[in-house]
């Protein structure tokens, strides 16, 4: 296991910290948030230690979000929720508090005190065009169609060996930390 001794989530996964498990397979685990925003609030986490979403391999992304969707559907069915949120905070400025990629699945009711809304920002045409061009420059070579074909030929996911993060990746989170004033 690419486990970080200091990581709270890794300790939960290794059963060193007790938790209420909702789901577990060879590479993912879902547990209840004991200080949750609403009863039934779940965390879905990869067993391997990845601080942020960019480091999670695509195959695991697909599985983790499918598990989250199953749990969201189960929340609708079994808790009488009026809605659910799937929420990911990636990096400290986004509200991430533990350096282990986690998907929040949150049961919702009207007026439950949770707020995931925002005030729209007024931008000038120039600001919008600039950001549009910069993002397009980044996305022009994503090439998912090719990947999909290659992936269709692959067998089921196996997490065979521990995933070693490069030092650079591993330090991303702490670098983020230093940026915070």
């Amino acid at each position: 296991m690419a486990m970080k001794a200091a990581c709270l989530v890794c300790q939960i996964i290794e059963n060193k910290i007790p938790s209420k498990k909702i789901y577990e397979d060879e590479f993912a685990m879902a547990v209840l948030d004991v200080n949750g925003s609403n009863p039934g609030h779940c965390f879905v986490m990869p067993k391997n230690h990845y601080p942020i979403i960019e480091q999670v391999p695509d195959a695991e992304i697909g599985r983790l979000f499918n598990i989250s969707n199953r749990i969201s559907s189960a929340i609708f069915e079994s808790l009488g929720a009026q809605g659910t949120n799937i929420f990911v905070a990636n990096g400290i400025p986004a509200g991430q508090t533990v350096a282990h990629f986690t998907i929040n699945v949150i049961p919702r009711r009207e007026n439950d005190g949770i707020n995931l809304q925002w005030q729209p920002k007024q931008l000038s045409e120039e600001e919008i065009s600039t950001v549009e061009l910069k993002l397009k420059e980044q996305t022009k070579n994503l090439g998912f169609e090719k990947d999909e074909k290659a992936e269709a030929e692959k067998p089921r996911i196996h997490v065979k060996k521990p995933v070693a993060l490069s030092e650079e990746e591993d330090e991303y989170f702490s670098r983020q930390m230093r940026r915070v004033p």
Partner: protein, 191 residues
């Protein structure tokens, strides 16, 4: 539009009609009215950031921050539980790449990925989408996830019900207060 002048009786009739529809009929009905399906079909203009056979990413016209992206499925689904597994896998792989694009391309220091299912969760459109929001320190966005004091028993009970539903054995325990997925979807369609 004529719809703006409908009275209560007509509204009730419309809601009754929606209630009678099969999931397939409902999807067709919603699709015709869906602004995001028109954006996908290029009948309504948008600023397209990424597109492939299954998804379209556009800039949100009411952004939380500059570069805020809406990632839409090209197929019309009103809520995430309606998406097939392979569609979900694809959507979130693309979401990951878009998040990465924000860190690299527009100097974001973090990102949020948010899906809202149902009006109570903050969903406004009747078309499934993932929001990808670039974040910086002190950008004025405050998401509130309060930590409520809860009885350990209450939490455990909620957990047990979710586990039972996941294993498909929760039918008889189904909450009477709870709206079914079809109803959640229909409520969006009736707005």
């Amino acid at each position: 539009m004529a719809e703006q002048n409908i009275d209560q009786e007509q509204l009730n009739a419309l809601q009754e009609k929606l209630r009678q529809m099969s999931p397939e009929e409902l999807r067709e009905f919603q699709k015709k009215q869906c602004i995001f399906c028109q954006i996908v079909a290029n009948k309504v203009q948008s600023r397209r950031i990424y597109e492939d056979g299954r998804v379209l990413a556009i800039l949100d016209i009411n952004p939380a921050n500059p570069g805020h992206i809406l990632l839409l499925t090209k197929e019309h689904y009103s809520i995430m539980p309606q998406l097939p597994d392979d569609e979900i896998a694809h959507v979130f792989k693309v979401a990951k790449s878009l998040s990465n694009s924000m860190l690299k391309g527009i100097d974001a220091h973090g990102t949020n990925v948010i899906v809202a299912n149902g009006i109570a969760a903050g969903q406004r459109a009747q078309h499934f989408m993932a929001h990808i929001i670039p974040r910086k320190e002190n950008d004025g966005i405050i998401f509130v996830l309060p930590q409520k004091p809860m009885e350990q028993k209450e939490i455990e009970a909620a957990g047990d019900r979710i586990i039972a539903a996941l294993s498909g054995s929760a039918k008889e325990e189904k909450s009477e207060k709870g709206a079914s997925l079809d109803e959640i979807s229909k409520l969006l369609g009736a707005r």
